[in-house]
Each structure stands twice: as C-alpha cells, then as structure tokens.
C-alpha cells in the first residue's frame, strides 16, 4: 500500500467519520474535520515526493496516480490553502446548522482536487473532476438561497464542460486505445488536423468553465458569493486553479506542438484579457463584498489565463506565480469577508462601516491582501504583475498589455471600495458592539498575509518549484535566466532587485512614522469620526454622514457604454428559446392517454388514406 493510497483513505474515511461524529459531539466533529485535512497534508509533504506512483484496479481498468513537480506545485496551493481554510472553518462554522454536511463536502472537495492533480490516466481524472463539481455544487446550495437560479446555473455550466471533456476522453481512447495521458500526448502529433483542434477545444471548454473564463464565467459570481465564505476561499483560491492546471497541460503539451497553436493561444490570451477588464468593471459596481470579490476573482483569473496563454517562459512563470498569489490573497479576502459576516451579520457596504478600530487584526490582513491584489510593491502581487507585463511587452502583445494595465489600475477602485466600505468611514452606533473575530479565524488570515510579504521579497521561494514544474512539462530551465532569489529580470536583461527596495521602503516608512508620532506626541489625541469639519458646523450625533451609496458613481458613468451588454442576457435568451421549444414539445407529449389515442387514430387514418401512394 502506497502513501498515496493512505492519503486518499484518510480523506474518504475522515469525511464519513466527520459526518457521523457530529451526532455524538460537536468538538469531536471539529477534531475529526481538522485531522482529516491536516494529516493528509502533512503526510503528503513529508512522504510523497515527485516521482511516486500508485495504482488501483477497478473493474478491469487500472487507475494510476502519481506526482510530478508540476502537480506538486498545485498540491501546495490546494493543501496549503485547504489547511488554512480548514482551521478558519472551525471558527466560521461554530454555531451554524448542518456542519456535518459542510465538513463532508469540504473534505471531499480537497480530496477531489488532490485526485485531479495526482491522476495520470484520464478516467480517474474525470471521476475526480466530477466529485469536485458535485461537492462544490452541494456547498454552493448550502445556504438554501436561490437554489434554482444559482445552483442550476453552476451545474449546467459544469455539466457542459464535463461532457465535453468526457467526449474528448472517449475519442482519445478510440484513437489510441489507452486512457493514459502520456499516450494521448504522444499520439497527438499524429492525429488528423480536425482532431488536433477539437480535442484541445473540448478540454479547454471543461477547464475554462472551472477557471471562469469569458464567456463561461457567468456562474462564478453567484456561486462564489453564495457558498459559505470558509469554502469560497478554497473555491476561488484553489478549485478554480484546477482549470488553470488543466489549461497549462493542454496548452503546453498539445497546442504548442502544432503550427495553428499560435492563433489558439492568441484567442485564449485575449479572452483572458477581456475577462480581466470586464470582471474588474463589474466588481467596481457591486455593493456586496462577496459579489465584489467574486467578480474580482474572475478578473484575476483572467490575468493568469493571459499569462499562461502567452506561453513564453516569463509568461508561464508570471501566470503560475499569480496563481499562487491569487490563492493567498483571495483566500484571505474571502476569509476577511467571512469574519465580518460572522461578527456583524451582513456583508453589504451600504450597511456596515467603520470597523477598523473594532477589528484591527482583520483589517491588517485585509490591507496586506489588498496591497498584494493591487500589485503594489513590496508585496507578492507586484512580482506577478511585473513578470506578466514584461512577458506581454517582450512577446509583442502591445494592445493586450494596455487592456491588462487598464483592469489592473481600475482594480484600485474596488480595492479601495472594499477597505473603505468595511473598515473606514463613519463609525456608527449600530456597530458599536462588534468585536474582533475569534483567534482561530484571525490567525490563518495573518499567516497568509505574512506569506504574501515573504513571497514579495523572495519570490525565488515559489519560483523554484514553478520552474521545476515547467521543466517537467518540457520547458527549458529558466533558473538563473529570468530570476534569482530576490531579483526578477526579463529577456532584455532589465531587472528589479526586490530586497534593497524593501529595506528602503521600510526605512522611509519607519522614519516618517517616528517623525509623525514623536512630534507633539503628548498633545495629539484621538477624536471620533463625528468630530470633523462639516461646513464649519459641528455635526450632531444623529446626523448621517456615511458615504457608501453610489460610491464609484462618476467612474461608472464614464464606463457605462461598456457595461450595457451582459453576456448573462444572451444566455438567458438561449435558455428562453430552449424553454419555448420544450414547451412546444410538451404540447405534443401531453401525457394524456386520449391525446395519444388521437395520434394513433390520425396515423392510422393517414396510412389508410394514402395507402395506395405509400405502399
């Protein structure tokens, strides 16, 4: 029995045990839940290295699981973020109903993601892909709001993707006689041209749905915002990365091998860019933090897709580095939103405001992740953005770089909206009772915030595994060519040295911080947010000075023409068309015996009338 078997057994057994132990004791359930996420994570990193394989015979088909450097990189995201989210979930789910249901699906999701990463044959890849879809679907409808609209939308898109993939798998098996990924990849150059195009398209359809790529993204904002936040942090942080994982494999091993692949990559890169721009605009418009972050996830995945679709070494490094960073900062931001939801009961910017003094640690975590999201040095997001721009410019994508830059700058608007909406602004009496979230929720957020800081200064820590992952996929070694431990450079030899820059930033900041604090330390005192200048008058206690409704209105006015068309409407149009078609068919199949009798009689009459012509 291999360690990989043991890990999967712990996941499965842990999920079942967690579900049923809730009947005995809540604490026992929490312990089982934590153990069944953290123990496999520990076992994986301690005992399973690249090159390990395990097999399982199932009804005549041998399933093969194994680890290479590339899947190890994504395991880092899944298990790292999964462990943090699991610890957080203990605090988040405290006192909520149907904990067993949530924990069960949480563990299954993590297991399914690990399964996808470890699968070497396409059958187990597909099975785990379906388990992932199912478990995430079940968590999405956990709250019970709007199941019809949100759940079905997510499920229909997932199903379309999954069946496209299944079709591709069947075709591949027909062509090669094997379910192994390696045989598919080896046979790919010998396929006919139409197959060379259709098989990647079908796979990309499945991966594009999970990665929320335009125009397959419409399920994402609803599903992300409707799932419990503890799950959304892995939903957006890790689960969407499975789409990226698949895309990278398809792009590198298949599309890059054929001459037509250039156009393929251009189209995907542009789709990524448009996803980023549109996602950002819609994120700015949202008044609910969950929705805002959900659209922002769509936009951020757009950058990642663009990076990997460019396909140069620097582009790949950028895309995968951003994938790791996105898991960190978006995971943290969803956790922050969850903490606020837990403490105040709402995530609407128009309702809750001025929490900075009540939830200072949550604010610090949010601030650091926002800085990383906006791509401002010295945090990790900057490294990814820098590499993305450099790769776009050096690979002659001049207009795309403008699109990406536009969305990246516009992202500041929703970044500020998030921070201002929750933490800044007027402190209102309504929220005077709010306290900091429990430590079990705050600590994972802060750990991830520190990680962002470390990766921003020493990106080499994560670029090294990315590099070995890319080498496993057949890229040349980019080590000492495009980056060193704290230096990033492009193919023209221009570079940024992060470490001294960090020291300077800290130095300048600390100097002026001391200057501001030292000067008049005794005379400066804190005053409340009511004590402000308001046209020379002192505002009364009951005067409402909160500014949150229509927050980014001038900007929305400027970009209004771009937002008039919604892809959702087109899908709804298709759905309406289909519905009227089905309605028409339902008129024929009424389910009434008499109607069917009439059909039979009419048929017989027709046959009798025209028997001379027919026979």
């Amino acid at each position: 029995m291999e360690m990989i078997h043991i890990i999967f057994l712990i996941f499965l057994g842990g999920a079942v045990l967690t579900y049923f132990s809730g009947k005995i004791s809540k604490v026992l359930q929490d312990i089982f839940f934590l153990a069944s996420v953290l123990v496999p994570a520990y076992l994986f990193f301690a005992y399973v290295g690249a090159g390990r394989e395990a097999t399982l015979s199932l009804g005549g088909i041998t399933l093969i699981w194994g680890v290479n450097h590339f899947s190890w990189l994504f395991s880092l995201i899944v298990l790292g973020l999964g462990s943090m989210a699991a610890i957080y979930a203990i605090g988040y789910m405290k006192g909520k109903k149907r904990k067993g249901y949530f924990y069960f699906n949480f563990i299954l999701s993590i297991m399914a993601m690990m399964g996808i990463l470890l699968s070497i044959d396409l059958i187990s890849f597909f099975i785990f892909w379906e388990i992932m879809t199912w478990s995430s679907y079940l968590v999405t409808i956990y709250n019970g709001h709007d199941i019809q609209r949100i759940g079905i939308k997510y499920f229909v898109f997932s199903a379309i993707g999954a069946y496209a993939m299944l079709m591709a798998i069947v075709i591949v098996h027909h062509l090669t006689g094997s379910f192994l990924m390696s045989s598919m990849i080896n046979f790919y150059p010998n396929m006919s041209l139409s197959m060379q195009i259709w098989i990647p398209v079908m796979f990309l359809l499945a991966f594009g749905v999970k990665a929320a790529m335009m125009p397959l993204h419409v399920w994402a904002p609803d599903a992300y915002s409707n799932a419990p936040m503890a799950y959304t942090s892995i939903f957006s942080g890790a689960l969407s990365k499975m789409g990226i994982y698949g895309m990278v494999i398809v792009l590198v091993t298949m599309i890059n091998q054929i001459p037509q692949g250039f156009w393929f990559r251009e189209v995907i890169a542009w789709l990524g860019g448009i996803t980023a721009a549109i996602g950002t605009l819609w994120a700015i418009k949202q008044d609910d933090a969950k929705k805002l972050l959900a659209y922002s996830s769509v936009a951020q995945l757009g950058y990642i897709i663009t990076g990997i679709a460019i396909g140069t070494e620097l582009g790949m490094l950028a895309g995968l580095f951003l994938a790791v960073m996105h898991a960190l900062f978006k995971g943290t931001l969803f956790m922050v939103t969850g903490a606020i939801e837990k403490q105040t009961g709402t995530t609407n910017f128009n309702e809750v405001t001025g929490l900075i003094r009540k939830m200072p640690w949550t604010f610090i975590a949010a601030l650091l992740s926002i800085i990383a999201l906006a791509g401002i040095p010295p945090l990790g997001g900057f490294v990814g953005k820098w590499m993305l721009y450099e790769s776009l410019i050096t690979s002659n994508h001049y207009l795309l770089v403008i699109v990406i830059f536009f969305s990246s700058t516009a992202a500041f608007l929703y970044c500020y909206k998030f921070l201002f909406g929750f933490f800044l602004g007027q402190e209102e009496k309504e929220w005077a009772h709010v306290k900091e979230a429990p430590a079990v929720m705050v600590v994972p957020m802060l750990i991830m915030a520190v990680m962002m800081f470390v990766l921003g200064t020493f990106p080499g820590i994560i670029l090294k595994p990315i590099n070995s992952g890319l080498m496993d996929l057949g890229f040349v070694d980019s080590f000492k060519h495009l980056w060193e431990s704290s230096v990033i450079l492009n193919v023209w030899g221009n570079h940024v040295v992060l470490q001294p820059i960090l020291y300077w930033i800290i130095g300048i900041f600390v100097f002026f911080m001391i200057f501001l604090t030292w000067k008049g330390f005794k005379t400066t005192r804190y005053v409340s947010t009511k004590d402000i200048s308001s046209s020379g008058e002192v505002p009364a206690d009951d005067e409402n000075l909160t500014f949150s409704v229509g927050f980014m209105q001038p900007f929305m006015r400027a970009v209004a023409p771009a937002m008039r068309r919604q892809i959702d409407k087109y899908y709804n149009g298709i759905a309406d068309g289909l519905e009227s078609l089905f309605e028409f068919i339902r008129r024929i199949y009424t389910g009434n015996g008499q109607t069917y009798t009439i059909y039979v009689i009419v048929f017989v009459v027709i046959v009798l009338l025209f028997k001379n012509i027919l026979f």
């Binding site: 906006a374 953005k385 403008i402 221009n494 300077w504 008049g520 005379t523 001038p554 900007f555």
Partner: protein, 303 residues
Amino acid sequence: MEKVLLDILGAIVTFLVAFVVGMTYGGLNRKITARVQNRKGPPWYQNFIDAYKLSSKKSAIHHGVMHHLGPAFLMVTSVMTLLIVPVLSHNNWFPNLNFQGDLIFLLYIMTFGPLGMALGAGQTGNPNSAIGVTRGLSMMVGFEIPWVLALVALMIQYHTTSITGLMAVQAHSGTWLMFSSPFAFIAAVMALFGMFRYSPFDIVGAPTELASGPIAETGGKYLFVMMSSGSVFTFAKLTLYVDLFLGGADNLFILIIKTFALYLIPLLYSLVSPRYRTEQAIRWFWGWPSFFGLLAILQAIIF
C-alpha cells in the same frame, strides 16, 4: 557599511534638493497664477513660510492609526520615486537605486502612497474626503491609459524597460526621445495634466466644492508632511519626464531649466481652464491623449 551610509547620505541630499526645488515651483505657481489674474500675489518663497508655519504648529487631534500614518505612506511613494529616477546623468552624486528598478516598478510604486493616504482620508469619516478619493482614483484610471501607452511605445521602440536604458539610448543617438518619438511625448505630457491635478483636472481637491477633499481633516504636522511629499513628488515626476524625453541633464542648472519648462505646460493650461466633472475628465484622457498614445505604439511598431 560605508556604502550603506553613503547611500543614505545620497538619499538625504537628493531629498533636500527635491524639497527646495519642489517648494519653489509651488511658490512660483502661485506667483504666476496671480500675475496672470492681474494680482500681485505672494512672494516666490511663500510655500517655505507655509511649510514652516505648519511644522511649528501643534497638532491637537488625529482620527486613528490610518489617518496618523497616511502622510508616511505618501512619503514612501515620493521618496521611492525620487530614488528610482536618475537625477543627473553621468554623475555619481545621486546614485541611489537607479539600477534596481524599472519603469513598471515605478508605475506601481507611484500608486502606493495615494492609496495609503486615501486610507487615512477614509478613516477621518469626512464624506468630502471619501468623495475626493473616489474621484482621484477614477481619474487615475483615466490618465494612466495614455501614460502607459506612451511608456509601452518607448519600451518596444528601444527594447528596454529601464529608465537608465532609455537615457543611454538618447545619449548614444544624440536625439531626445521627445523628437524621435513625438507622439509618445504628446501622450505623456497630456497624462501629466492628470498627475498634477491642476485645473481643469482639480476634481480631487476641488476648492469650494469638496472643501479640499482628501486633506480636509488634515492639519499641522500631517499637512506639513503631505506638503513636503507633494513638493518632492513634483520634482521626481518632472525629473522622470526630463530623463525619459528630454535627454536627462548633466548638472542641476540644466535640470532645473528643463523641469521648469515642463512644469509650465500644465500650469499655463490650468490658468485658462475651468474644472471638468469626473466622468468628463476620464473621457478626456481616453480621447485625444490615448489616440496619440496609440499613434506612438504604431510608430514604435513600424519604425
């Protein structure tokens, strides 16, 4: 160790030069504005007097940690920009961090401070501050488009993303980039209007409308640090433009002439323009300036 001390010394000298020059420009701005409006106006050193007054005042109140630290965030951006931009070419006086960052790094570090200050302004709870901040961020999305178009055009035309690389190109060919890539220069100068936030783009501070916007609740030492930061940033931005488009400068005298000539463009334009609304300002930047930026990119691709 000695190198570190020298670096710090260099940084302090650069900072002082930038402070003095930036403050003087601010004073000259007021003087020129007054003369155009047929007033006598304050003396050119008025800004120094104001700064001294602010720094010697006692600050009685603050609105919390972010408000307290907002000016420090702003200072980080100003000083980092100043350190990354090469002040003089062929000179060892101000080596600073010139060779350790590039244009894209600069673009992003320039947004660090405004965002930090915006947080400080947000914590005061003054609705005018928050409105000013949202306007400022919106306008930033506006002017960054032509600015980035211009920069990308330079990058692809000369195959470098570093500022020193672009300066080397000019030194080597003997032609200023202003003449060899004129469209990029036009787009960049139009973006400069947005960076300086003078009329017609003074929608952030918006006197008489927003009660000076983000800095409404700031006074004393906080306003002093912000004012110094603004002066330093003015100098850093102008120096960057001189380095990129006007061939850099060999000594301080030439640098001051070139930067002041550049500074006059947004200043004089502001004197004859009323204020735009926010969406008008954004669309203005996405109109002609971006068109020139696209022309610049076309030129870079074709030649």
